[in-house]
Amino acid sequence: MHHSTRRTVLQRGLSLGIAGALPGWTASAFAADQGPIVLYNGQHKATTQKLLDAFTAATGIKVESRKGSSIQLANQIIEEGARSPADLFFSEESPPVAALAERGLLARLAPATLEQVRAGYRDPDGYWSGVTARCRVTAYNKKMVKESELPASVLDMATAAWKGRVAYVPTSGAFQQQIVAISALKGRDTALAWLKGLKQYGEAYGSNKAAMTAVERGEIATALINNYYWYNLAQEKGADKMQSAIHFSGNGDPGALVTVSAMGILKTAKNVEAAQKLAAFMAGVPGQEILTRAAAEWPMNPQVQPSFGLRPFGDLHPPKVNPPSLKGAEEALELRREAGLA
C-alpha cells in the first residue's frame, strides 16, 4: 500500500520539521536585556569583525553585530522606533546616520570621541561622527583615454566632447552627495545643467561595481565613482593586471568630493556606556588602524596614516563642502527628476 507509506513519510517529515524549528523561536527574547551590545553594521563585515574582536580583547565587552546595507538598516531602525534592539549604528556613508539624527533617534557622542575626529567630518551638534573617508574619482581605461586628456573639472565631463564615454550611477548615494555639493558650490543651475549633460552624453549604470567593471573591461572610457571601487577590483584582480587607473581632480573641484563612513549611538541604547566605549575605540588610533589597513580609505583620526599607498589626506584638496552639510537628498532627487534622471 503505497498510500500509507507516503502518509507516514509526510507525517514524519512534518513533525521533524516542526520539532527542528521550535528551539529557535524564542531565542532572541532572552538576549535583549543584558549581555553584549548590539551593533547594526552597514560596513564591510570581515573588517568590522576584526575591529570588534580587538575591542572585545581590549575591554572585555562583547559585541553582537548585525550586518545589512546601511540604508536598509537605517530604514529598519526608523521602523523599529523606540523599541530598536540596536545600541550603535555603523554606516557606510553619513546620510543614513544623519537621517536618524534628524528624526531624533540618536544620543550625543562623548566629547572625547568627537575630538579625535577631523573637524568638519563630524556632526556639529555631536550626534554622529565620520569614521573613515573616501574620495570621488574618475576611473578611466588606460587604453581608451590618457590621464592628461581628462578635464580639470568633473563639470566638463557632461559635454558633447565626452559623448558615450562617461559612466555614472544616478542612484548611488555618493552621486547624490555630489549633486548636492555641486549645487552648494556652483549653484542649482550648474548642478541641473551637469545632470542634463550627463543624461544626454553619459551612460547611466545601475551600480558602482558595474560601472567600474565596465571601465576595466573597456566597455566605456571613464566612470565617476569612489576611489575604493578601483582598489577593490585591483585587490581582486591584481593591481598589475588592471586596465584602468583613477584620477583625483583635487583643486577644490566637486569631482574630488570627500564622503565618510559614519557612526551614531541610539538614544534607546540599552547599554549606553559600553556603546560609548566602542565609539571611542573606533575613533581612536587602534580602531582607525584596523579599519584603514583593510580598506583603501583615509582615517578620520589625524594621528593615523593611510595605507594602500593612498596620498596624504591633506593632498586631496576636496571642495569646500563637508559631510555634515551634504544632507539634501530631497534636493538631489528634485534635480535628478528635473533633469529626467529619476
Binding site: 503505497h2 498510500h3 507516503r6 502518509r7 509526510l10 507525517q11 517529515g13 512534518l14 520539521g17 516542526i18 527542528g20 524549528a21 529557535g24 523561536w25 524564542t26 531565542a27 532572541s28 527574547a29 548590539v38 564591510h44 563585515k45 553582537e64 553585530s65 550586518k67 545589512g68 546595507s69 540604508i71 536598509q72 530604514n75 529598519q76 526608523i78 521602523e79 523599529e80 522606533g81 523599541r83 534592539p85 542612484t171 548615494g173 547624490q176 551612460e203 547611466a204 545601475g206 551600480s207 561595481k209 558595474a210 567600474m212 565596465a214 573591461r217 566597455e219 571601487y229 577593490n232 577590483l233 585587490q235 581582486e236 584582480k237 591584481g238 537628498a329 532627487l333 527628476r337 529619476a342
Partner: protein, 529 residues
C-alpha cells in the same frame, strides 16, 4: 444520509450530487478556520501599507503618483511583466509537453535538467549577462534573462499536471477523429489550465517585485522606485503609495487567472498517471530541432551563468577568506528554508482546499490575496513585519518565528500554485465516500486528501525551499542576530566587490538548490514510490 457511492460520476464535469450541501458544510467546517490563519498573516503587509500611506496624506500620495515618471514606470513594469510571462508560458508549456508527451531520448534526464535553471538566483544570472556588455542591459535583455531564470516556475507545475492528467481524455478525442493539435487544445490544455495559469500568475507577480536582477540590467520599475524612496529619503510613505500601485497591477492578473480557470471541474477518479499516455514520435528533423532547442535553452539558462560563477571561483585574491563561515551559513540556509517551506505548506493547503471545494466569492478572494501581496517587493514585507511585530508581540522580534512568517507571506503563492494542480484533480466524491464510511473530517484529510495531493506538496516544498534559500531582504532584517545564510554571505561579499570570496557561497547555494530540484523531480517521475 450520505450520497451512495454508486452515483459517483466518473468524470465530474457534472455538478456535485444534490444531496451534498448540508453534509458538505459540516465536512468543511474546520477548513475556513484553518484558512483564516494564512489570510490574517498575509494581511499584515496590507495593514502596514495602509498605515504608512495614511501618514503621507492623500494629497502627497496623488502628487507622487500623478507624474510623468509614474507613467514611464508603469510602462516598464507592465512590459517586463507581460513579456516575461508570455515567454515563460511558451517555453514552460513546450518543454513540459516535450518531456512528458514525446518519445524524446533521455526523457528522464531532460525532465530534471529542464528544472535546473531554478538553482540559479535571478541576480546571479543577470550579473553574468550584464558582465557580457551593455547589449543586455535594457528592457529586452531583462525580459530575456528573467525568462530564462523563471520558465521552470511554469514548466514544473505543468509537467506535474501532465503526469497527473488522465490520458483517457486524449484517447477519446483521438478516437473521435480529432487531430493532434485539436486533441492538445481541447482535451489536454483545459486540464493543464490551473497549473499553467497559476504558474504564469506567479511569474507575473514575481516580475513586479523583482529588484536585484534589474539593478544589474538597468531597468526601472515600480519596485526599483520603491527601493529608491527608501534609499534616498528614508521615506516609507512614498514607498507605500507606490506599493499600492503594484498591488493594483496584480489585481487584473489575479482576476484573469481566475476567469481562465473558471468554474471548470477537472477532477477524476483514479490516478491517470498510472497508465502510459500516448507518446508522439519524434524522428528526423523534428527530433533534431527539439534537441537543439533544449541544448540552446540549457546553454543560455545554465551554462552562461555557471561559467561566470566558475570564472570567479578560479580567479581573484579575495578567494580563500571566510571559509570558516561556510558551514554555519549552510546550516542557517537549510534550517530556515526547510522550516519555512513546511510552515508555508501547512498554511497553504487549507487555503487552496477551501477555494477548490467551496467556490464562494470569499474563498476565491482569500485564495487570490497572497498573489496580490506577492507583487510587493520583499523590503516592504520585511519592514511591515519589523513595524508590526515590535508593536504587537515585541518578544518575537528577530526570532525564527517572525522570519518564517515573512517567508510564508512572501512565498505562499508558490505553494498554492503547486498544490492547486493536484487538489483540482482530486474528486470531492472520494471524500464523500470516506465520510459515508464513518471517517471524521480530519481523518479524511489525512487518509484521503493528503496522500493524493502528495505530488503537489512535493513540488510546493521544492519551489519554496529554493526561493527561501536565496531570500535576502527579509533574512537580513528578521533572522536572529548572529545567524547567517549562504544568500546573506553572497550578498555581503558581492556588496563589497569581492566576487571571488562570494563564489564558494554562491556555488554552495547552487549545490544546495540542486538537491530539492533533483529529489522532487525524481519523485514526480515515480509518483507511486
Amino acid at each position: 444520509m450520505d450520497s451512495p457511492a454508486a452515483s459517483l460520476p466518473l468524470s465530474s464535469s457534472a455538478p456535485p450530487p444534490a444531496a451534498a450541501p448540508r453534509h458538505r458544510r459540516r465536512r468543511l467546517s474546520w477548513l475556513p478556520l484553518a484558512a483564516l490563519v494564512p489570510v490574517l498573516l498575509i494581511s499584515l503587509p496590507l495593514v502596514y501599507v495602509a498605515v504608512r500611506t495614511a501618514q503621507a496624506g492623500l494629497a502627497d500620495v496623488l502628487a507622487e503618483l500623478l507624474r510623468l515618471r509614474t507613467l514611464q514606470l508603469l510602462i516598464n513594469t507592465v512590459a517586463l511583466g507581460a513579456g516575461v510571462t508570455l515567454l515563460t508560458i511558451g517555453i514552460g508549456l513546450g518543454v513540459a509537453w516535450c518531456v512528458e508527451r514525446t518519445d524524446l531520448p533521455l526523457r528522464n534526464f531532460w525532465r530534471v535538467a529542464a528544472a535546473l535553471p531554478l538553482v540559479l538566483p535571478a541576480f546571479v544570472a543577470s550579473y553574468a549577462w550584464a558582465s557580457i556588455g551593455t547589449l543586455f542591459q535594457n528592457l529586452g535583455g531583462a525580459i530575456m534573462v528573467l525568462t530564462l531564470t523563471s520558465y521552470p516556475l511554469v514548466y514544473l507545475p505543468v509537467a506535474a499536471a501532465l503526469r497527473s492528467t488522465d490520458p483517457g481524455f486524449e484517447d477519446i478525442s483521438r478516437s473521435l477523429g480529432a487531430g493532434p493539435w485539436q486533441t492538445f487544445r481541447r482535451a489536454l490544455l483545459p486540464q493543464l489550465m490551473p497549473a499553467l495559469g497559476g504558474g504564469a500568475l506567479l511569474v507575473l507577480t514575481h516580475m513586479f517585485a523583482e529588484f536585484g536582477a534589474l539593478a544589474f540590467l538597468r531597468v526601472q520599475t515600480f519596485t526599483t522606485a520603491i527601493f529608491e524612496s527608501y534609499e534616498l529619503h528614508f521615506d516609507s510613505a512614498t514607498a507605500a503609495a507606490l506599493s499600492i500601485v503594484l498591488m493594483l497591477l496584480c489585481l487584473p492578473a489575479a482576476w484573469l487567472e481566475m476567469r481562465l480557470r473558471g468554474q471548470r471541474r477537472i477532477a477524476h477518479v483514479g490516478r491517470g498517471a498510472v497508465r502510459q499516455p500516448h507518446l508522439v514520435r519524434l524522428r528526423g528533423w523534428r527530433l533534431a530541432g527539439v534537441l537543439a532547442a533544449f541544448a540552446l535553452l540549457g546553454a543560455l539558462s545554465l551554462g552562461m551563468p555557471l561559467g561566470t560563477l566558475g570564472y570567479w571561483l578560479l580567479t581573484g585574491s579575495s578567494a580563500g577568506g571566510g571559509h570558516e563561515a561556510l558551514w554555519p551559513a549552510i546550516r542557517g540556509s537549510i534550517t530556515f528554508a526547510t522550516s519555512g517551506a513546511l510552515l508555508t505548506s501547512v498554511l497553504a493547503i487549507p487555503l487552496v482546499l477551501l477555494a477548490v471545494r467551496q467556490r464562494s466569492k470569499w474563498a476565491q478572494a482569500a485564495e487570490r490575496l497572497p498573489y496580490i501581496v506577492h507583487g510587493l517587493p520583499g523590503v516592504v514585507v520585511a519592514l511591515a513585519l519589523v513595524f508590526l511585530s515590535l508593536r504587537l508581540v515585541p518578544g518575537i522580534y528577530q526570532s525564527l518565528l517572525v522570519l518564517l512568517i515573512a517567508y510564508a507571506i512572501l512565498y505562499l503563492p508558490l505553494a498554492q500554485s503547486s498544490l492547486r494542480g493536484s487538489i483540482e484533480l482530486l474528486p470531492p466524491q472520494i471524500e464523500n465516500v470516506a465520510r459515508s464510511l464513518g471517517k471524521r473530517p480530519l481523518q479524511v484529510f489525512f487518509s484521503i486528501v493528503l496522500p493524493n495531493i502528495a505530488p503537489g506538496i512535493a513540488a510546493a516544498l521544492a519551489l519554496m525551499a529554493l526561493q527561501m534559500v536565496r531570500e535576502l531582504t527579509a533574512t537580513l532584517m528578521l533572522a536572529p542576530t548572529g545567524t547567517m545564510t549562504l544568500a546573506t554571505e553572497v550578498w555581503s561579499y558581492t556588496n563589497d566587490g569581492e566576487y571571488a570570496a562570494a563564489a564558494p557561497f554562491a556555488a554552495m547555494l547552487v549545490v544546495l538548490s540542486i538537491a530539492p530540484v533533483w529529489v522532487f523531480a525524481r519523485r514526480m517521475l515515480h509518483p507511486t514510490r
